[in-house]
Amino acid sequence: MKNGGILNIMSIEEKENKKDIYILGIETSCDDTCASMVKNGSVILSSVVSSQDEIHRKYGGIVPEIASRKHIEVIDIIIKEAINKSGIDISCINAVSVTNRPGLIGSLLVGVGAAKAICYARNIPLIAVNHLKAHIYSNVLAHPNIRGGFIGLVVSGGHSSLYLMDNDKCSMKLVGQTVDDAVGEAFDKIARYLNLGYPGGPIIDKLSKSGNSDYIDFPRPMINSGDFNFSFSGLKTSLIYRTKKDKKLMHKENIPDLVASFQKAAVDVLVEKTIRACRKYGMDKILVSGGVAANSRLREEFTKRCSSNNISVYIPPLSMCMDNAAMVACLGYYEYLKGNFSSLDVDVYSRTDQ
């Protein structure tokens, strides 16, 4: 009888294991309100993004107070849409995964407040995740068969960070980060300085295609610093000095050459230091992610350099580079499998080290 009982439990557990896991992801760390439903950590049933680009464009950058005001207006609408589009009833959701760090406090708290309310009302686990780790998981979402450890590079308007991920897919160590501007921030600031528009990344990328990237030999900041940190503020200043010294660089016909050279310098440092980190830690895989992972030169350089170094490189499709909640749900799935749940008392943090 006892054995029968145990067998019974086991069979229930087995059934549980075979059941599909649905994770609702919510992401409001910066200016995009995002919600997504992901099945088994790999099938995106819905991914809704409400972008505020249009609103922030006229300021040449994100205004935190405005971002927060927009999030609270649309948060429930975006979550509802993600659930409706997924075709999954709210009662089937296994857990809610939400970004609670790092990011703008006024933005984070809108998503986390909503996530807590759903978990409390539905009595399901809350999983509060790190935004940067979620970015890295946008690659795991696209390639669920990635095994073993890797080096993860997150490059966006707010971050330029290198992570070492060991085998278990969950414990992640920061091995380097920017000491000043994030790379995307430098792109935005240069675009604003040259009156090219906002966001700067895609504009500079496009202009660079018709430019000569060897036109100016910009410095490669911190390329031989001996650690894995980055610096992009000096590169930005260097461009500004050059244009002040040589006014004709600001002429319309020279802009593509100017920004192409700038972009090349930034990409060179990122690619070089990431590959060095990969070698140092004995890894054979690099996972690139974040908004700047959409940059065509960065994608090309990583593909080229990794192939000649026998390193596999993973970069998510363009749609998954920008902030989205599918990556948050994907990371949430792996935390769910490990039972890494958060308390409903969880707070929001502007930085990861808090």
Partner: protein, 279 residues
């Protein structure tokens, strides 16, 4: 009968309350500054448990939408709008001045009853500190329900209260106002000319009202508020009532639900548009 769950996170004090109709069943409140994000679900759960209810039993949700502390108000709005959506129940967002007015009316029932019995009208004037040396205020009258012929069309009644055997309505007179603290007395004088509260556009006149002033302005602009109170013998200052509480959010929400007030997308109330990089 309806069960109401309300949250007030618009000030440094966080509170969650559960009521059945206009009767309070439980309230959890933190009088110290607290991390609202950390405590909001805990307080909500505690209030429901103390009332012997679960979230599934809630018929109406309510939240103080400010003006108030930006961070706190957003946390409350996000939690309540999501709870009401998941539970498929209605949610009302209440202006912070309305919550203060109801709190002031209930906390001063005796004063109000005494004045009304003597035939003297009562005006409530909550004054909220909204930063940048500005005060956000409005006026509320208290009138017998049976004499209130126009209340359905006017839609300015925010809650009702029983004094003795009679039902009274708490009604906003005129709009919400914003004034620099240095101009507050001047603005008040426009409304209280010759001891008569006049709101010109509405042709309402309260002759020689007793005016009860409350709200957070007293905490931030003490001397301004004391000067204002001293300027007229009609003014009474209730120094206790600085920050609003969830139980009064519930009273307003109950009234909204009874009157089937139109539901709106819950978003915090801001007293001014946000202008990046200054003016």
């Amino acid at each position: 009968m309806m069960n109401i769950l309300g949250i007030d996170s618009s000030s440094r004090n966080l509170s969650a309350a559960v009521s059945r109709d206009d009767k309070l069943l439980s309230e959890v409140i933190n009088h110290e500054s607290s991390k609202h994000m950390v405590n909001i679900i805990k307080f909500t759960d505690k209030a429901l448990r103390r009332a012997g209810l679960s979230i599934k039993d809630v018929d109406v949700f309510g939240v103080n939408l400010g003006p108030g502390d930006f961070t706190g108000t957003r946390i409350g709005a996000s939690v309540i709008k999501t709870l009401s959506w998941v539970e498929k129940k209605c949610a009302y967002g209440i202006n912070s001045l309305d919550v203060h007015a109801v709190m002031c009316a209930f906390k001063n029932k005796n004063t109000i009853a005494k004045n009304l019995l003597n035939g003297r009208p009562v005006t409530i004037a909550p004054c909220l500190d909204v930063k940048r040396s500005e005060v956000y205020f409005s006026f509320y009258g208290i009138s017998e329900d049976e004499n209130d012929v126009c209340h359905k069309s006017e839609k300015k009644i925010i809650a009702s209260m029983i004094i003795g055997a009679k039902k009274y309505n708490i009604k906003r007179i005129g709009d919400y106002h914003l004034a620099n603290k240095d101009e507050l007395m001047e603005k008040f004088n426009i409304f209280f000319e010759n001891e008569v509260l006049k709101i010109q556009s509405k042709e309402i006149a309260h002759v020689n009202p007793a005016v009860i002033v409350c709200g957070s302005s007293y905490a931030s602009h003490r001397s301004t508020m004391l000067d204002l109170i001293r300027s007229s013998s009609s003014f009474i200052l209730d120094k206790r009532l600085l920050y609003s509480q969830a139980r009064y959010v519930n009273l307003c929400s109950y009234f909204n639900a009874l009157e089937k007030v139109e539901l709106k997308n819950l978003a915090p109330v801001y007293v001014r548009d946000f202008v990046p990089f200054g003016n």
